[in-house]
Assembly symmetry: C2
Homo-oligomer: 230 residues x 2
DNA sequence: TATTATTAGAGAAAAGTTTCTCGATAAAGA
DNA sequence: TCTTTATCGAGAAACTTTTCTCTAATAATA
């Protein structure tokens, strides 16, 4: 017997990655509209402001399980709530951050992560000089305590902001501590147990795309700005 | 008359974004192989280590214009050079960074950007307290000098690490200064002239993908780690 | 030298994503 | 009330990206 699942059922098929990544853009825009005392919004309007096709937005919003009405659109408050629920931003997850360097400090000071389901509760670092200090109100512990504290506090999310050579070792510790999701800012390909979700935030990957397009654009119309070697 | 272009010709068709974003992963891995005194590499080997399909890698590498040999693979040094050339990492571009906060400082201290075609030469900030100081050896200028200096120095790349409300204004200044590429770390949808390439590095977009998958994974098997409200 | 195993490269097929088309529905105006 | 207009929602079509299949080339081995 085959059980038909609703499209937006939790255990249903995977949601396209591009759709997932557009959700926060909708969310942000809708929040701003909400501040302007609006109560309804249409895909046409969202698309116009964000530069997306309205049909695409309709398909994306379908994943959240909300229904709109022709000629009117979607109820704003309910739509925002649906997105937050869909993304799991209702239940805030505690997280550990490893690597209290520049980037780590930046993330520790990032505003409003808690509004987006992420609560960084502590930092870890191998450097004894950093241990014991607090950064943006978050205490820094020695790396040796990571596994024990993660297990005891049931921490599910780990954030890696260490230099590349240490990244795999930190990932191993996180897996040993029972973490299920790793947000990896080190430019490294991590090997983890199958139950662990890894998201890589490799800046060089983004940079590659940017610089290739710029190089191509300069090659196409070598104007005033790009002096070729004379 | 129709002129047939080579696939890898500079003015040719657009390279898929996913392919572009995989290039730095190949580059990194190949560099490590190079350190191990290797001279040849096959797609099979790259795929095994990075977890990609070898055919996909072959298609990606085709864009760089390099040719491999059956049974042998690609010459390692030439392949690395081809990737760097393809991504425009040979000609280093100067860049200005605006927003000398936590994240800005992290980027100013990022290692080896110059090896990847990006040379951040100066920072800018609206905050008078930050102006005049140097962060990781890069001087901080007042925002008012951005346009003039960008024009004079022919700066093509701008990096935005200001809070969201100031992002559009900074983008406008960058466009006015003649910049052609913007790397935007603010969670904002920027409106820019058509010739300007914008790359958004919205952390909330990545976080959304991560937290949705984690929430789904927890919902699927509510094991020891996720205590439901009793 | 012939055979075998491996791999690049090209093209086809499959899978995934975006855009288009159309009917249904709801609101506003004639 | 009837017509017009705007928009949702569903399915089809177009496009993009990944994976598969096959051939030819190359080196190693018998």
């Amino acid at each position: 017997m085959v059980v038909e699942l609703e499209k937006h059922e939790a255990a249903g098929r995977a949601v396209p990655e591009p759709s997932l990544r557009r959700m926060p853009l909708y969310h942000r825009m809708l929040k701003q509209l909400m501040d302007g005392q609006r109560t309804q919004v249409t895909c046409t309007e969202i698309g116009l402001q964000l530069g997306f096709d309205p049909t695409q937005i309709r398909k994306d919003l379908e994943y959240t399980g909300i229904a709109g009405r022709p000629k009117v659109g979607y109820p704003l408050g309910a739509l925002i709530a649906a997105i937050e629920s869909f993304l799991g931003w209702n239940n805030v997850n505690d997280a550990f951050l490893v690597g209290a360097g520049n980037l780590g400090a930046a993330l520790l000071g990032y505003p409003h992560f808690a509004d987006y389901g992420l609560n960084i509760v502590a930092a870890f670092d191998r450097d004894e000089a950093k241990v014991g200090r607090a950064i943006h109100g978050k205490e820094v512990f020695p790396l040796s305590r990571l596994v024990g504290l993660a297990q005891r506090m049931h921490i599910l999310i780990g954030i890696i902001t260490v230099p590349e050579p240490a990244a795999q070792e930190v990932a191993d510790l996180m897996a040993a501590g029972g973490m299920l999701a790793i947000w990896n800012f080190a430019p490294a390909h991590l090997k983890v147990p199958p139950q662990v979700i890894v998201h890589n935030e490799n800046l060089y990957c983004s940079l590659a795309s940017l610089s290739q397009k710029l190089a191509k654009s300069l090659a196409a119309k070598p104007g005033d700005a790009a002096p070729p070697s004379p």
